[in-house]
């Protein structure tokens, strides 16, 4: 018998707010934009109520209460910054700090550590703790992808709750009691789940740090840019951290979106970005001359292919990777269609695309490309049909194609590509457009460097039908070009127009928002950072 949810009004720091009756005072304060310090509270985990930092003063209650576990009530009057609250929070912060090592200079969390943050706010600058300090606990411990420092741990249990409630793998636990309480994995063994990176995110201090990011960069040198993960069809919202002085990407973190990924993302999406800087990354276009690949220019490619396609467009088969953004696909199908090309293959894993559920019941999907749904939407709106990889293979085998051009490949996985290349008969020449070189490219006659998802901008539609923005975080690497450049290059013989700022936005505004996603009807700038559903739900936030 769940109690009925009503709407109640309460006052926090003199400002009135209306909340559903099952909300907490913490959430109410958050809604008002009033910051309440906290360590153990996390919006996507259960309430533990152990850090005791989120104390507030509630009228008619003798004791201060923790706001994270206090339900709102009609007429409640809450104060978050009385002297009593400040003193108590300051005192509790002091207690948090007495057994915490002073190793900020060598701690990777420095700069985004909540202990540091609150310390500077509350300023217990004189330590009263002059005992031969501290309980010593194990420091650098290797637990797989994460390094655990039990001594830095403030025992907020966020990580314990994460492994219990999100991944259900229960690797982490708190052993012993009192101030001997120590965070460890159950058998001292490694973490065994695909979401370990989130532990480093939710750890408010430097107890859990990701090996991938440790000692790579001080966080205050980094700039965060909003984007969307393109490593699978879920499309987790992310922020990408880049050092603006070197324009190098250092880390990918999840960005909260309760409709898609809550606060989490999988380790694949988080750490597979390394292909951007891998040795196998393609640097220049290449073509094959006398059986040997040699460096070429984009100009040469545009000229050659404009000519080849115009000569016999029906003999060209285009493979469109589902890594391409909606804008790129629109651009390419338009241009190539006008040139007379009829056969388009959707380069993805056919079976995985149809998979509606996530693989692990959390986030990761079998389809490891981000935009299969977007591709079908674009084709639908243009009244065109694409071939699946299976159909494409059959068609290629039946012969008659001079060229197979596969566009927009990314990373090292490239689902469906090898099959297509193998299916192509000897007389069919092959061109691929990819970020990284793999062994089966030997067979290809042209190899073109593609930009990665961290370099391009545009939109994806995830498996749930949510239109989301990918935004470039780093510049195009080497001489790589995106799908727009290829479309324009083939049309005009050069890709100068792409250099125009925000070309993709023009494509989105003029050719996508009205015709492809009529329910959405917005321009790029108004498209919210957390995306919008393209289905029946329509665009909730914007104009109708």
């Amino acid at each position: 018998m769940a109690p009925e949810v009503k709407s109640v009004k309460l006052t926090i720091d003199g400002r009135e707010v209306e909340m559903p009756s099952n909300a907490t005072v913490f959430q109410a304060a958050q809604k008002l934009g009033i910051f309440v310090p906290h360590y153990c509270y996390h919006p996507d985990l259960s309430v533990a109520g152990v850090c005791r930092m989120c104390m507030v003063d509630i009228e008619k209650q003798p004791k201060l209460a923790i706001s994270c576990n206090t339900a709102v009530a009609e007429g409640m009057v809450v104060k978050t910054s009385t002297d009593k609250v400040k003193d108590t929070v300051k005192g509790i912060l002091e207690l948090h700090l007495i057994n915490h090592p002073l190793d900020c200079p060598i701690c990777d969390k420095a700069g985004e550590c909540k202990l540091q943050d609150y310390y500077t706010v509350h300023g217990n600058y004189e330590s009263r703790m002059d005992f031969d300090k501290k309980n010593h606990k194990p420091k650098v411990q290797d637990i797989g992808t994460i390094v655990l420092d039990s001594e830095r741990c403030i025992l907020c249990t966020r990580c314990v709750r994460f492994t219990a409630e999100v991944t259900h793998t229960h690797e982490l636990g708190i052993f012993n009691r009192g101030d001997r309480s120590t965070l460890t994995t159950y058998d001292g063994g490694p973490l065994r789940n695909n979401y370990t990176g989130n532990l480093a995110d939710i750890c408010p201090v430097g107890a859990l740090t990701a090996k991938d990011f440790r000692f790579q960069q001080r966080v205050w040198f980094l700039e965060k840019r909003d984007s969307v993960c393109g490593m699978c069809a879920t499309g987790c919202n992310t922020t990408v951290s880049v050092n603006p002085s070197t324009n190098k990407l250092y880390r990918v973190e999840p960005r909260r979106n309760t409709d898609v990924n809550a606060s989490w993302m999988c380790d694949i999406g988080r750490w597979d970005y390394h292909y951007v800087y891998a040795d196998t990354r393609l640097r220049t276009p290449k073509d094959k001359k006398d059986g040997v690949l040699r460096d070429q220019t984009w100009h040469e490619f545009f000229l050659t292919f404009s000519e080849e396609i115009s000569k016999a467009p029906e003999k060209v088969c285009i493979g469109l990777s589902t890594y391409l953004t909606n804008e790129e696909i629109t651009d390419l199908t338009d241009t190539l269609g006008q040139m007379g090309v009829k056969d388009f293959i959707r380069v993805a894993e056919d079976k995985a695309v149809l998979e509606k559920e996530t693989e692990d019941k959390i986030l990761k999907r079998a389809d490891e490309t981000p935009n299969a749904l977007g591709l079908s939407e674009v084709f639908k709106s243009q009244g065109k049909k694409f071939l699946t990889v299976e159909e494409g293979k059959a068609k290629l085998k039946s012969g008659g194609f001079q060229w197979l051009v596969i566009l927009g490949l990314e990373g090292n996985k490239m689902p469906g590509v090898a099959e297509l290349i193998l299916a192509a008969p000897k007389e069919t020449k092959i061109a691929v457009h990819a970020t990284n070189e793999v062994s089966f490219f030997e067979r290809c006659d042209w190899i073109l460097p593609n930009v990665s998802q961290f370099e391009k901008s545009g939109s994806y539609v995830n498996a749930l039908g949510r239109l989301q923005k990918v935004q470039s975080s780093i510049p195009w690497q080497h001489t790589s070009r995106d799908g727009h450049a290829i479309g324009l290059g083939l049309k005009n013989g050069n890709d100068r127009e792409v250099v125009q700022k925000n070309y993709y936005q023009t494509v989105f505004n003029k050719r996508l928002s009205e015709s492809v996603f009529p329910g959405v009807r917005t321009d790029w700038r108004r498209l919210h950072a957390t995306g919008v559903n393209i289905g029946e739900v329509g665009y909730r936030e914007g104009r109708k």
């Binding site: 509790i92 002091e94 207690l95 005992f131 009691r177 009192g178 101030d179």
Partner: protein
């Protein structure tokens, strides 16, 4: 002094082999149960409310009221847990009931379970009470054999399964919700309230947790009516309770007497006065977590829930500890703070870190390394621990420290000034 035949709990305690069911029945045992089964459950709750019985575990919450908070129609099973995790230093009253008169407790549990519509009950007994657990287990088996437990008790529609569960030795598992966590097989962490156990406790079902002494009182109330029980003691502190006298007394032990009796009288009559005619220095009135009393306060105070508040202390669990003039209070406090440091579950930061810090400061003072600033540090640290945690352990650790500091500041100063223990304690 309460006459033996008027006592509620210890009247038959000296009967040989009382722990056997036949002997217990001869003293009038299980008559209350028979009577209770003819009543309606709500009538029993009403009777308990009339008696004014308050929980004897330490907090003193009215028992009848606690029972009436249970949502009887939630569709979930209701659990009655008997808290026999008696771990408060200076307290040994439940032990007497468990070891000598287990059937009294079992009868109380059966009646209470009938009142709160519970069909499964647990006795959570502290691990150290190994003998008590054996006695209880045997008694439970006897009660099953006689049909007092199991399906359709004495032909009625009420059924009850009773399980004796041994703890593993943790003070915190005596805290209501810590006990529930432990009984569920989890670490003995106290839980956030709300939800309160009455609504969502053991296995997320409505749960009543009562102390051994509280439950053992129920049969008497049923036999003699609540109104009769309320005649004992004072208006808001009705009935009798068990006092555990320990320390520098001629006759330490567990005694039953009315609530509201003068503390001085308790010590003089039951306790037999100070051993060797020593002078009194302080009395801890209700277990180690209650702040102490000075001799002047001991002369004035009566043992009831209202009066103790005037002296800044609590009745607690009834563990009265008497400290003589020649005993170093810092030695006592060092031992107590170490206990709380060791027993803190470590969940909430103020308690986890504060208990350790207090222990270090007190230890320093006692060992002659104290500084002037320590007094202020104690006050501040203990202050930060009061009312800032999930359960009351933090308060239980901070309160006595502040109490000693307030009432016996000279002891602290003497240690700090001279740099050694004025009582000549060698460590």
């Amino acid at each position: 002094m309460l006459a033996k035949e008027k006592q509620v709990l210890l009247r038959h305690i000296d009967t040989p082999e009382l722990k056997k069911i036949s002997v217990y029945e001869d003293t009038g045992g299980y008559q209350a149960l028979k009577k209770a089964l003819t009543m309606k459950p709500d009538e029993i709750i009403e009777e308990v409310k009339k008696s004014g019985l308050r929980g004897r575990g330490g907090a003193g919450f009215p028992t009848g009221m606690k029972w009436s908070f249970v949502p009887f129609n939630s569709g979930k099973p209701i659990y009655l847990l008997c808290n026999a995790d008696e771990s408060e230093p200076g307290t040994f009253k439940d032990r007497v009931i468990i070891e000598k008169n287990p059937h009294n407790l079992i009868e109380g549990i059966i009646i209470s379970s009938y009142a709160v519509r519970c069909n499964k009950s647990y006795i959570y007994i502290r691990g150290e009470y190994a003998y008590g657990a054996r006695v209880l287990q045997k008694a439970v088996e006897e009660a099953y054999a006689k049909g007092y437990l199991g399906k359709n008790i004495l032909g009625s529609s009420h059924s009850l399964e009773l399980v004796v569960h041994r703890g593993a030795g943790a003070y915190i598992c005596g805290e209501e919700t810590g006990l529930i966590s432990s009984l569920e097989g989890k670490k003995g962490y106290p839980r956030l309230k709300p939800p309160f156990p009455a609504v969502q406790g053991f296995l997320e079902c409505p749960t009543v947790v009562n102390n051994v002494e509280t439950l053992s009182t129920i049969p008497w109330i049923l036999n003699n009516t609540g109104a009769e029980y309320a005649k004992y003691g004072k208006e808001k502190s009705t009935g009798t309770r068990l006092y555990c006298l320990s320390g520098w007394l001629n006759k330490p032990g567990t005694y039953e007497d009315v609530l509201g009796m003068p503390l001085k009288e308790l010590l003089e009559t039951h306790g037999g006065g100070m051993k060797n005619g020593a002078k009194l220095k302080a009395v801890i009135p209700g277990g180690s977590s209650t702040p102490p009393l000075t001799p002047e306060e001991v002369d004035k105070m009566t043992m009831d829930y209202d009066d103790v508040g005037k002296y800044g202390t609590f009745l607690g669990s009834g563990g009265v500890i008497v400290i003589p003039e020649h005993f170093c209070l810092l030695k006592l406090l060092e031992r107590l703070t170490e206990f709380y440091w060791d027993e803190s579950c470590g969940q909430c930061t103020p308690c986890r870190e504060g208990t350790g810090w207090l222990y270090k400061i007190i230890e320093g003072i006692y060992h002659g390394h104290g500084k002037e600033s320590d007094i202020a540090d104690i006050k501040k640290t203990a202050g930060n621990m009061m009312g800032t945690t999930i359960c009351a352990l933090s308060d239980a650790a901070a309160m006595p420290v502040l109490g000693y500091l307030k009432k016996f500041p000279h002891e602290f100063e003497a240690h700090i000034k001279t740099g050694k223990c004025p009582y000549g304690e060698t460590h």
